[in-house]
Every structure is written in structure tokens, then in C-alpha cells.
Amino acid sequence: MLPSSLDEAVAALAAMPSAVPVAGGTDLMAAVNSGLLRPAALVGLGRISEIRGWQYADGAALLGAGLTHARMGRPDFAALIPALAAAARSAGPPQIRNAGTLGGNIASAAPTGDALPVLAALEAGVILAGPDGDRELPISHLLTGMDPMRPGELLAFVRIPLLHAPQTFLKSTGRTGPGRAVASVALVVDPARRQVRCSVGAVAPVPLRPLEAEQWVAGLIDWDGERTLADEACTAFGEYVAAACIPDQPGVELPPAAVQLRRTVAALSRRALGRALA
């Protein structure tokens, strides 16, 4: 099935609830080809032009779920949401970025999904189109399974507040070329709400938000002044984030791999904060 509008797609899914929507297919078709998944039918979303671009609504950007990573990586988009553009640019080789979409990244919900920590740090909302109309929920509710997608629903848009403030995305992989994240950190500065929001990807099934560390560091920043921090404060923030994301096990020494992961998260968080405030 190849619907050409969101309504048609929702109708197609309603008519055949066992059908699986497919956008870029970079995760889904790999699973189908290797025999892990045998969907009864596929609903192709590639012809729905309304979800392949973006628009503005009340100080936010409404991104179509069909936006490709390649599109998000371009300079015009990077001027709008720099951290998401950075994440999109780091996601796989060009072939994958040309096909893979924002919505697919959310729907696959892989722990290493590069866009996910950015969306979590931006406190994005997802808009689901369904047979009973649209509904919007926070990305974290969807990813954690607190409020999962219902049968017949389709991920249509992602609402992202436009902050006009520094934001960064840093990712550590096993090689110089594109690779799966060992750990990634997205950090946004929100001067309007006087917040620093940070999200760590790939270390847990869903992106983690070290809320206490965020509040602590937001309290150190002189929001009306220079908005800079001493190196020591950035370092302490990194340690704080890392300890929150990879907690100590009472009575057990951390295995060497966890120590290295914690060190990586600390370095990434420190660098992310340093760059955002530079």
C-alpha cells in the first residue's frame, strides 16, 4: 500500500491493523530480509509529502516524521536545530542517511538511535495520527513505554521548541568512520526557562536525563551575565552526569567496561557543556 496522504495512511492502517508502516526501511527491511520479521502487509510512507518537510507553529518547529537524516544534516536545518542536525550527520553512512528518517529513528527506538537523546534533551513532543484524530505526547512517554502507540496510530510529526540558544550533540563510536554510538550526549541551554537540559544516549535502553546534575549546573550559571562556567564546574558536571547514568552498585566494584563507559560519558558531557557555553 502506498498512500499519498496521512489520512489515507491512517485509513489503510485501520483497514488492516496487522500492516506495518515503512518509511526509509533501514531497520525494518533489514529485519524482514533476514527473516526476523514477517509483516502481513507494508504501508509505504514515502509518498506522503506532508510529512517529508517541516513548518513553524507557535515558536516551535513541526518536523515531518518522514524527514531524512540527510535533509536534517543540511545547513539550513542546522541553523534551526543544531543538535539534531549534528546527530543526523553522525547517523551511519550516506546511503543510510539518505533513506533513514526521523520517524523511523523514533519508531525503531534502538538504544543507539542518534536522534533520540537530542529529542529528549529538547523535550520534543510527538504527534500521532490515528483513527480517532491526532494526539500529542512527550517523546519520553513514548520511548519509555509509559504511553505507547495504539493500534492504527501513525507517527506523523515531531514538535520541537525553537530555543535560539546553544545546543550540542557529541557521540563516541568505536571508529573514525560512521558507527554505532558507544555513548552520546545531547545538551541544550534554554535561557528562557533558565535550564540546562542534558540527555545521554546508548548507555541504557532509552535516553537518560540526569535531572539533578542539570539543576545543579543551571544554578551555577549567571543567566543575566556572561553565561560561562569555570573548567572545574564543567568537569564536575561531567562526573555528576556520568555517575547518575552509570550508577555505582552497592558493594560491587564497577567492571572495567563500565568504568570506561563512565569516563566516556563524563568527558562527553563536560565537552558538550563547555562548547555550549563557549
Binding site: 533476514s34 553522525s90 557529541l170 563516541s172 563510536t173 571508529r175 570506561q260 565537552r271
Partner: protein, 768 residues
């Protein structure tokens, strides 16, 4: 005067004739265009009318007793045409490259994760896969032996025992001691050959009760004999036809593919095709031996080596395969290309329930290179010498003796190679222009921070042997035919991408002066040429082609020479024209042939070698080749991420036969070495392979491949080798991982004793 010398002067003598031609020029490969356009056919592209599809059931356990196999349900599925297990193997139950110790299908005992248990042929690949999954196998799961150190004392995993081979090497005085002693423990991980193309094959039954196997074999005759023995057929009733080989760093194909295919084709009387998934490929084929190495180096106060003691333990996996060869190389080259008066090595290859190990370029030599070069760095640090200097004081040269008692008779310009990489200019540091454009460790959009990046420079010297060692009968046969002014080469040497067909064309162009030379595809109806490994084909098959071409040349010129009363040596052939030394006679090849066809077949067999004796002594190698690599790396010392900036290579090549192809082989080898150094390690905790996919097993991408600078190619001809040329592919693979490790050591000050280098080994902890 020989023709080879006449044109060996290089491209300039041929500048007028346009396209590259003959030895010493960059004749392009005939397959290059088709491969680039994606039209070159590989085994996975084969098709036959009415073919069936095969699927193989593999063990999910690394070690288990099989108590029951029930195929009734699978066999009854619609579309399933045959199911075969160990009970359906008509011939020899066991097979193997060196030792017949591996069953076609596991019968009562599973010895590694992914071992084949049964195979199905069905009219659709999905049906075959579902039927394979429907075969009921009851296992009694056993404790796997996965630590090679524990294999000695463990219950035997195989009737042949757990010790596959032990080589003690004793050379010199065991009581010799040096003023300076350094010790080290090194580990090398499991590199997968990860050929780019899928492993696949097609088996077609023959009317005479035999079978034809269309596979990307690199050793068709050995594969034929092995298959025939398992099928219970005479070897002339099995034919292996070599298809396009999509990359071969070791043996292709996994016998777990061709044997089930042949059995199913014989059983059903239909052509049967199989295409392995990447997961099966990772489970089935042979990997580089994971190795544990303990070393103690003694040196005098000036840094000259006195004694090297080493213990080398190779994890062979469940079956012997070519582990014995890998061990021989590891033990013989344990001290590296250095002069050491006293060497004592104990080497073992042991059986475990880990994934199988076997022939992968530079096996044995790579692992010890990592260790002895680690030791040389340690020695340099302890003596306060430059790492390059301590190496320079010990380099091997022609006329020196290896610890195996063999005198190095071939060119061994080790010092010259080291000097070339040491004196080459270092790559510039990125200038301060635009920090965002620096390619830092971690990549373009990565997390690298210039302030945390340290640069390091490291050196390594490596060596490997050319051709099979220890008495292997290295022989190849080739036929050359000339007709209508064209030449055809028939040789079963497999073109694996190493460039043999191009080389064969160049040789015939040189000897016979004809431009158009075709090299026919290989199959086992042709005389054997042996495996495409250890640089054999440049030597033995190239040598056989040259001899056959020279015989044809004599046949062609003899009547002419007789007619004009001069000897054959006074005639030359170039551009299809025959001319005499004085220019009086001038005719064309086509005219002289006058419609006749000329054929000649010749063999090339280098001098025999000895097996290493009970003290590890013997003239085991036909030839040796050497390489020096200088690595420059950038390390993010907080994240432990490493980027190899540049590898400068100086190599001993004997003679350059095709400059472009030679450079490509070195670049490819170095890149494989970078993979070994930084990321490639197939993890198998408790014997179960983790993440057998190309996402889970990262390999170098274009961004990870460093700038490869070939700073010097030493052309000192090896007089016993045809053309004086040495094999070039393996030694850069062997040497570059050790160079990268040395550079990371220099950048971080950390010991770096394990390959691949894990991030935690390259992190510099902040001083607190």
C-alpha cells in the same frame, strides 16, 4: 640476452606503444571495469534451470552432546526435497586441510557454535530455512572449553586430543643472560577475514553420477579432493569450477557450504544453490588465531639482543585446519627480523570450543610481530634509546641465521627499510586555520577535542615467509597456447583479486610479444596450481606461465632461426613482429604461425624445504619478505579513541612487476592491519559468537583508512624466485598492527599489550 631483461628496463622503452604492456608496467586488470560497474558475476549470481535452495542447520551451542536428531517433520514439509545429516555422508566421515579431524555434519558431538548439523534442499529458500529450523535436535549441553590455557588439562574435546601441535625451539645457550631484561604479556584477538562478498555456491549433478561444484574456491583441487572423499566418489567425478571470488583473505569457501551442497545435489539429482547469510559466514569460516604471548628479552647495555624467550599459545578452535602452519610461522619468527644469538620458544596450538581458526593472511607472523615489537619498545624505554635506534642495532641481513638454524640467503634489506621510514618526513600537524575541519579521532561529527588529542609515532618491522613451509610440495602447472597472433593462458591459479590474471598477461606479453592475452577461468579439469595463498601464485604459477610461454616461443622461433641460420636468442618479438638482432629479418607472429596452433605446458616447483625438527630447527622456508612501517596516530586521551593519521611503508619486493597493483596490495594490507589494530575482534564469550554482523563487527571505513605512504620499495632481486619478485600482500598486514600499537604507546605512555587496542588502554588518567 633474455627478453625479460630487454623489456625489464621499464615503461620508458614502451612509451611509444600506448597502453601499458609487459612486466614492470601498470597493466590494468581486465575485471576492474566489470567489478566497478557491478556486472562481474560472483557465486551468489549463479542460476540453473530447476534449481533447489539449500539451508544449513547450525548448532546454537559451542559444546554439546547430540542425543537425538529427528528430521521427519522437516522432510514432510511441502516443497522439501531432501534432508541430510551425518548419517547421509557416503564417504569419509572426517575431513580437513591438514588433518582429517572435522566431520561434515556433527553427529554425536558439537564442538563449536555454528557447527553444521544438517542441511535441507527445498524449492524455495524460505522453505529450506523453515525446514532446517523444524529439524528436531536434542542436545545435552556440555561445559565449553574456551580458555586455551585450560585446554591442556581439560577433558579431550576430540579423539585426537586437545594439543594440535607443540613446537619447542632451542637455539643457542639457554643460560645466556643480558644486562637488561624486559618482560611482557601480549594478547591478539580474533580477526575475521570478513570477505566483502557473500559465501555462496551452486552444485550441479552430472549424468555420470558425479557432481560439479561452482564455488569461489581459492584452492579448487584441494577442495575437489576433500569433497570427493566425503561424497565417496573418485576425484575425477567431482569438478570444482571457480566462480568470481569476492574477496579472499583466507581460505574460501567454508567447507560447511560446499560439502552439504554436493551431498544435496547428489541426493536430489537437481542443481542446488546456497547463499550464506553474513551471520553464517561469521560462524562458519576460519578466523585469525587468538593468541596469548609471553616474552622475555635480554639485551646488553648497548641494546643489542642477547636472548629471546617466548611462550606462544594459539587458540585453534575446534579443529586443526591449518593451525600447524600458523604455529610454525609464529615460532620461527618469534624474535622478528633481528639477529638474536640465543632463542628459546615454546609454541602450542590447542583445541577449544571457540570459533574455528585457520588460514588468514600472515597467520602466526602477525601475532608474534605485535609481541616482539612491543618488547623492542620496552627495551628502548628501559635503555633510554629511541625506538627506531634500538631496532637499527639489531636488524637482520642476508647471511644471518634465523633461530630455526636456516641461513637467510634471499635479500633481507631490513636496515635499509627501517632507515627509509625513519627518515621520511612526518605528516604535518593540522594548522590552526579551521578547527572544525580537522579530522580528529572519533570522526568528523564526533566528540574529538583538539586539546585532548596527542600525537604519537611508532615503528615496527615485520617478516613473513613466501610459499608454504615445512616441506609442502609447492608446485604449479600452466599451459600457454598461441594462435592467430593471440595467446591464451590456462592455469588453475585462482584470481582472488590479487592480480594473478593481470600478471599472467604481462608475462606472456613480455615473452611472446603478443598484446592480446587471455587468461581462462579456473577449474579442476586443468592441472593443479595449488592454493591462492602466501604469495604462491606470483612465484609458482607466474613461474610456470613464464616457462610455458618460453617453450612456445622456442617452438615459434626455432623453424625461423633454422631457416636463417641463426640461434633463437638472436630473434626478438615485440608488438606481434619478429625481428632479428641485425634487423635483416622482419616478419609477424601471425605470418610465422601460418594458421598453426602452438601449445606448451610447464611446471614450476621451487626447492624443497624441511619440517621443523624436535628443536624447532630446519630449513623450513623457501623465501622471506620484510617490511618496515612507521605509524603516526592521533589519540584522544580522555576517550581513548585513536585515528591513524598516516602509515609510511617501506617494503622488500624483489622486483616491481606491476606498480599500480603493488601499491593497491600494500594499501589493502595496511588497511586490514589497521582493522586488527583498532577494532576487529569477533567476540565469543563462553564460545558463543556475539553480534555476527557487519554492524556488530566494525571494520575500517574510508575515514578510518589512513594515508598510506609507500616511501621505499627495495628492488633487490631474489635470485631463486621467478622474475626475482617477492610476494607483497601479507607482510604489510603483519607489520602495521604492531606499528599502530607502538604509536599509541608513544602518544599515551601506556603499555598497549592487546590487539585490537581498546579505548581503555589508550586513556591517560588525569593526575590527581
Amino acid at each position: 640476452m633474455s627478453i625479460i631483461d630487454g623489456t625489464g628496463a621499464g615503461p620508458e622503452t614502451l612509451a611509444g606503444s600506448g597502453a601499458p604492456h609487459g612486466l614492470g608496467t601498470s597493466v590494468p586488470s581486465t575485471e576492474a571495469l566489470a567489478k566497478t560497474q557491478g556486472t562481474y558475476p560472483y557465486a551468489a549470481d549463479l542460476w540453473a534451470e530447476g534449481l533447489l535452495w539449500a539451508a544449513v542447520l547450525r548448532s546454537p551451542h559451542p559444546h554439546a552432546r547430540i542425543t537425538r536428531i529427528d528430521t521427519t517433520e522437516a522432510a514432510a514439509m511441502p516443497g522439501v526435497r531432501a534432508v541430510v545429516t551425518h548419517e547421509d555422508v557416503p564417504g569419509d566421515a572426517m575431513h580437513g586441510r591438514r588433518v582429517a579431524d572435522r566431520p561434515v555434519f556433527a553427529g554425536d558431538l558439537v564442538r563449536h557454535h555454528g557447527e553444521p548439523i544438517a542441511a535441507v534442499a527445498a524449492d524455495h529458500p524460505d522453505t529450506a530455512r523453515l525446514a532446517a529450523a523444524a529439524i528436531l535436535v536434542e542436545y545435552e549441553v556440555l561445559e565449553p572449553v574456551t580458555d586455551p590455557e585450560k585446554a591442556f588439562a581439560a577433558e579431550p574435546l576430540h579423539p585426537d586430543g586437545n594439543l594440535i601441535r607443540h613446537i619447542p625451539l632451542r637455539f643457542g645457550d639457554p643460560d645466556a643472560v643480558g644486562e637488561v631484561v624486559v618482560e611482557g604479556l601480549y594478547r591478539v584477538g580474533r580477526q575475521d577475514p570478513a570477505p566483502i562478498g557473500a559465501e555462496a555456491g551452486l552444485a550441479v549433478p552430472r549424468p555420470d553420477g558425479g557432481v560439479e561444484l561452482y564455488v569461489a574456491s581459492t584452492d579448487p583441487h584441494a577442495d575437489r579432493d576433500l569433497a570427493a572423499a566425503c561424497f565417496g566418489l573418485e576425484s575425477d567425478r567431482v569438478k570444482v569450477v571457480v566462480t568470481g571470488v569476492p574477496g579472499a583473505m583466507g581460505d574460501r569457501e567454508d567447507s560447511g557450504i560446499q560439502l552439504p551442497l554436493g551431498l544435496l545435489a547428489l541426493r536430489t539429482g537437481c542443481p542446488v544453490k546456497f547463499v550464506a547469510t553474513r551471520e553464517e559466514s561469521f560462524l562458519g569460516h576460519a578466523h585469525r588465531h587468538p593468541t596469548l604471548l609471553r616474552y622475555r628479552h635480554h639485551a646488553d647495555a648497548e641494546g643489542r639482543l642477547v636472548k629471546v624467550e617466548a611462550q606462544i599459545l594459539l587458540d585453534a578452535g575446534a579443529y586443526a585446519d591449518s593451525s600447524s602452519d600458523a604455529l610454525a610461522a609464529a615460532v620461527a619468527f618469534a624474535a622478528g627480523p633481528y639477529v638474536v644469538p640465543h632463542v628459546f620458544v615454546e609454541g602450542w596450538a590447542v583445541r577449544t570450543n571457540n570459533p574455528p581458526s585457520g588460514h588468514v593472511r600472515g597467520e602466526g607472523a602477525l601475532q608474534v610481530c605485535t609481541a616482539y615489537e612491543g618488547q623492542m619498545d620496552k627495551l628502548a624505554a628501559k635503555l633510554g634509546l629511541e625506538p627506531a635506534e634500538v631496532r637499527m642495532r639489531n636488524v637482520l641481513a642476508t647471511g644471518d641465521m634465523l633461530p630455526t638454524g636456516q641461513t637467510v640467503t634471499c635479500p633481507a634489506p631490513v636496515g635499509e627499510l627501517l632507515k627509509a621510514v625513519r627518515d621520511a618526513d612526518l605528516p604535518p600537524l593540522p594548522d590552526g586555520e579551521d578547527e572544525s575541519q580537522w579530522l580528529l579521532p572519533g570522526g568528523l561529527s564526533g566528540a574529538g577535542e583538539p586539546g585532548a588529542v596527542r600525537r604519537g609515532v611508532g615503528y615496527a618491522l615485520g617478516m613473513v615467509h613466501v610459499l608454504g613451509a615445512e616441506g609442502t610440495d609447492e608446485v604449479s602447472t600452466a599451459t600457454v597456447r598461441v594462435h592467430d597472433g593471440r595467446a591464451t593462458v590456462i592455469c588453475a591459479a585462482v584470481e582472488t583479486g590479487q592480480g594473478f590474471t593481470t600478471l599472467a598477461r604481462q608475462i606472456v606479453q613480455d615473452v611472446l610479444g603478443v598484446d592480446e592475452v587471455r587468461v581462462l577461468p579456473s577449474d579442476t579439469d586443468q592441472p593443479p596450481a595449488g592454493p591462492a595463498a602466501r604469495g604462491r601464485h606470483t612465484w609458482v604459477s607466474g613461474g610456470a606461465v613464464e616457462r610455458a610461454a618460453k617453450m612456445v616461443r622456442t617452438q615459434l622461433l626455432q623453424p625461423l632461426a633454422a631457416k636463417f641460420g641463426m640461434s633463437v636468442e638472436l630473434l626478438t618479438i615485440a608488438d606481434g613482429k619478429i625481428t632479428s638482432y641485425d634487423g635483416v629479418l622482419s616478419t609477424t607472429v601471425a605470418e610465422t604461425l601460418d594458421g598453426k596452433e602452438l601449445w606448451a605446458t610447464a611446471q614450476c616447483r621451487p626447492h624443497p624445504t624441511d619440517r621443523l625438527d624436535e628443536n624447532g630447527q630446519g630449513d623450513a622456508f623457501v623465501g622471506l619478505t620484510f617490511c618496515a612501517v612507521r605509524a603516526v596516530v592521533d589519540v584522544d586521551i580522555e576517550l581513548g579513541s585513536v585515528r591513524v593519521v598516516e602509515l609510511a611503508v617501506a617494503q622488500d619486493v624483489g622486483r616491481i612487476l606491476n606498480p599500480r597493483q603493488l601499491a593497491a596490495r600494500i594499501e589493502a594490507g595496511v588497511t586490514q592491519g589497521v582493522g586488527m589494530a583498532l577494532m576487529e575482534d569477533l567476540r565469543a564469550p563462553r564460545g558463543v559468537v556475539k553480534r555476527p554482523s557487519l554492524t556488530g563487527y566494525p571494520m575500517p571505513t574510508a575515514l578510518d583508512a589512513p594515508d598510506v605512504r609507500i616511501v621505499k620499495l627495495v628492488e633487490e632481486r631474489d635470485v631463486v624466485a621467478p622474475f626475482g619478485a617477492k610476494a607483497v600482500s601479507a607482510v604489510p598486514v603483519v607489520t602495521s598492527p604492531a606499528a599502530v600499537a607502538a604509536a599509541v604507546r608513544a602518544a599515551t605512555g601506556r603499555p598497549v599489550t592487546r590487539l585490537p587496542i581498546r579505548p581503555q588502554a589508550a586513556v591517560v588518567k588525569p593526575r590527581t
